[in-house]
């Protein structure tokens, strides 16, 4: 049986409150991409394996395909769209651009968000801890090195 009862929910995405109606089995990924049209968030596996769907929930990176929408009640969600005016985030974007950390770009949002989190929250960030920090996200194009360098430069 398909669960059909929708519930209505207020969620905070990129500092804007949205009232949405969701089904209990709806993922945050679908809410963001399909309901709110936030397309910087990508997906590649829908099962927690690739990390491409990463967003920040209360500042922490989470895979949005694994989060059910009702779990984000009273939480604040950040995607690239919400950080475009943030000075540190802009520096990180510039670092990605300068270091050639972008190829197809499908993974870029996820790495930017995790990079932003690491720089903001981790003290003594070294290459090894950056590698560990981004290990959950797949990039098939870049070979990771330029992404690691971009984050390292801002530690």
């Amino acid at each position: 049986m398909i669960v059909n009862e929708s519930e209505s929910l207020i969620i905070n995405v990129n500092n804007i409150e949205h009232k949405i109606s969701v089904k209990p089995n709806e993922t945050l990924l679908d809410v963001l991409r399909l309901k709110l049209g936030i397309k910087s968030v990508k997906a590649a596996c829908w099962s927690g394996d690739c990390g491409i769907c990463t967003v920040l929930i209360d500042g922490k990176p989470m895979k949005s395909c694994l989060v059910l929408s009702h779990e984000i009640r009273n939480k604040s969600i950040m995607t690239v769209e919400g950080l475009l005016e943030d000075e540190l985030f802009q520096k990180l974007q510039n670092s990605f651009v300068k270091n050639g950390a972008i190829q197809c770009g499908f993974c870029t949002s996820a790495f930017l968000l995790v990079g932003y989190y690491l720089i903001k929250n981790k003290r003594n960030l070294d290459l090894l801890s950056i590698k560990k920090g981004i290990n959950g996200i797949i990039c098939r194009c870049t070979g990771y090195k330029q992404i690691i360098d971009s984050i390292y430069e801002l530690k």
Partner: protein
Amino acid sequence: MGKYVGESIIRKDALEKVNGTATYAFDIDNIPNLLIGKFLTSPYAHAHIRSIDISKAEKINGVVAIVTGKDWPVRIGLYAGDRDILAVDKVVWAGQPVVAISAESYEIAEKALEQIQIEYEPLPAIIDPVKAKLSNDILVHEKLGEYEHSPAFNPIPGTNIANHFKLRKGNIEKGFKESDKIIENTFTMPQVAHAYLEPIVAIGHYKRDGKIEIWSSAQSPFTVRYLMGITFAIPTSNVTVHAPYLGGGFGGKAGLNYEPLAVLLSKNSNYRPVKLQLTREENFRSAPIRVGMVAKIKTGVKDNGRIIAEEIEYIWDSGACADYAVNVGRAGGYVSIGPYEIDNIKSDSYTLYTNKPYATAFRGFGHMELHWAIERQRDIIAKNLGMDPIALRKINTLKAGKSYTANQHRLRKDAGNVDECLEKVWNDLKTHFKGKIGDKPWLFRGIGVSCFMKGPAQPPNSASSAYVKFNEDGGIFVSVGTSEMGQGTITSLAQIAAEELSIPIEKVYIKGERDTDRDAYTWQTVGSRSLFMDGNAVRNACIDAKHQIFEIASQVLHTPPYDLVLENESIYPKGEPWKNLNLVDVIMGYMFTSGEAIGGPIMGHGTYIAKMTMLDAETGAGNPAIFETFGSQGVEVEINVLTGEIKIKRLISAFDIGKAINPQLCESQILGGSIMALSLGLNEKLQYDEKGHLLNPNFVDYVLTRADDLPDEFEFFLVENPQLDAPFGARGIGELTMLGVPAAIGNAIANAINVEIYDTPITSERIWYEIKKQRPELLKLKEEFLQED
């Protein structure tokens, strides 16, 4: 020269990508009346379809159309029409789409699929390509003889052979007779997945007026357009294909894939557009993959290291269809022996059908696989002769202007230099190699290298074009047909335009998404061909625009066009820069003070067509490529012989790319490509059970390299021996970055522990197993060490 060419200009698509605004086919869902498409696949690798019952599904509210193979039983494909849009009569791989649905929502489509009943009559399946070659009772395609194919290919009806390519040079028997040693080995590489992150997406809209519009994650929008016209029997010009940014392609989105199914669904859905987006598991099971290879090599060599005879059989496992991969077998066949000159060659390259997912192009196009075999064989030969593997290679490598290739074609004088690449890599490795370090006798270090070559595999009449259009502000819009899938070509093409027209790079606009109505034509975005082919077209378009500009300026400056210079956005007579005209006053037409005007908006146009030949059907003789990029790669490895664990300490690459148009983009390609090759060499393999079911269709069981697995050290060299007919001398590099890594690892393992590896992926398990087989004494090293203590 060299204001923009040769500079690490930032990518033209960088800002869109860091701002999250770059649009992929995956993101497009705002087309009015868009329906969702889904398909049901075969659970059997080989079976007759007895019946399909859609009666229950049809009744579900929100289901718009249900189609089966019989609705449009046209066989599709690039070089050979061997693929059903949906299986007709029988299924040939587990994962093949059989029924498709369009519905108002994803949930409805899913629900409806569950209600469809298909009855199958299973048939014996053929999974192993070597057995497939011998089998004439189990046939993947009984009707092979009826299929249409390009004349460059040679399928053998009544067998599973989709193509047999022959390479013959000299006299092989005589060559072996004169050899001092003959060395025979078999090497394999399994089928693998492209694992691009953006899954296959196709949005098809068959319109009431008979036109077709498509949005697809396609590497080859113009080829899709052409083949869609054929598939639906409408003029090419009635088809429009949009290819937005691609979330990776690596060859997996070349050719024609799910566009026909999306369009067929649309046609049967009251002409409403339909979006088909594969899940990751579907992408593994139902989308194209890379061929597997079995290579048998027999080499005859003189004691002095000269290779004088080589006999090879390549078997390419193309899975259930080979519409694109017939050309992988062909390209692998004509290159066969790698970057060497050998006088006596007999090589047979067979592309085989098996009951597995179908193969297509993959970055490297058979060359990573064949160089795995050839370059392992070179090291084994050197070991047999007691020779240094570098010296052995140098005796036999192709030399520009002098050597004749395996295709009996004299290598052009301005070709690249493989020896130079090899020396750079080897010297670097040797300088840094410390030999055994630490006090653990079970840890061994070794170094290994490989050489390779590759040119674009394309038809001899493959063409590119470009146009350059000036805007009022003096900016230009450059239109090309090549897709942007991450490789960065559009940026290099913009640099070529800026250089040729001497205008600031910021004023060069080039789009990452393609539109076959708007954009200049190119054949496909494959084979590392774009920089060379489309680069020449862009350059020619700029030269054309310059002529038009000089034509106008000459009337104003009273100077003949050939005496004019265009520099820094101004036009002046040679030697008199102060008599200048502003470019911006010319490009929309020039107006004299009287108000009289001449000229008009400038738009330059340029083309380029490949300079190659057909290959002789019996010998493969001819010119198969517009250029060959040569290169060499090397690694230092550390092996724990107790566990087989392998660590890549250092990875070095060198490529003779003629000219680095954008060194940073080259670096990005090298980093990305060699890590991809590392991943393929050490981890990746599509695993099937004996019935042909794929066992690892996800990113947990199909292991990709992650950030944590990177080599400790990484170095590369760009060798620049320019090719005179290339844009600013530049040859392609994209695929080259992968070709030598697996073989270098294999050679380094042999160097470290004297254990030969013949198959990939080179997992720890495999290394341990080979140690146990070849040098079991190594496994006791720890005990001995502890006893000594």
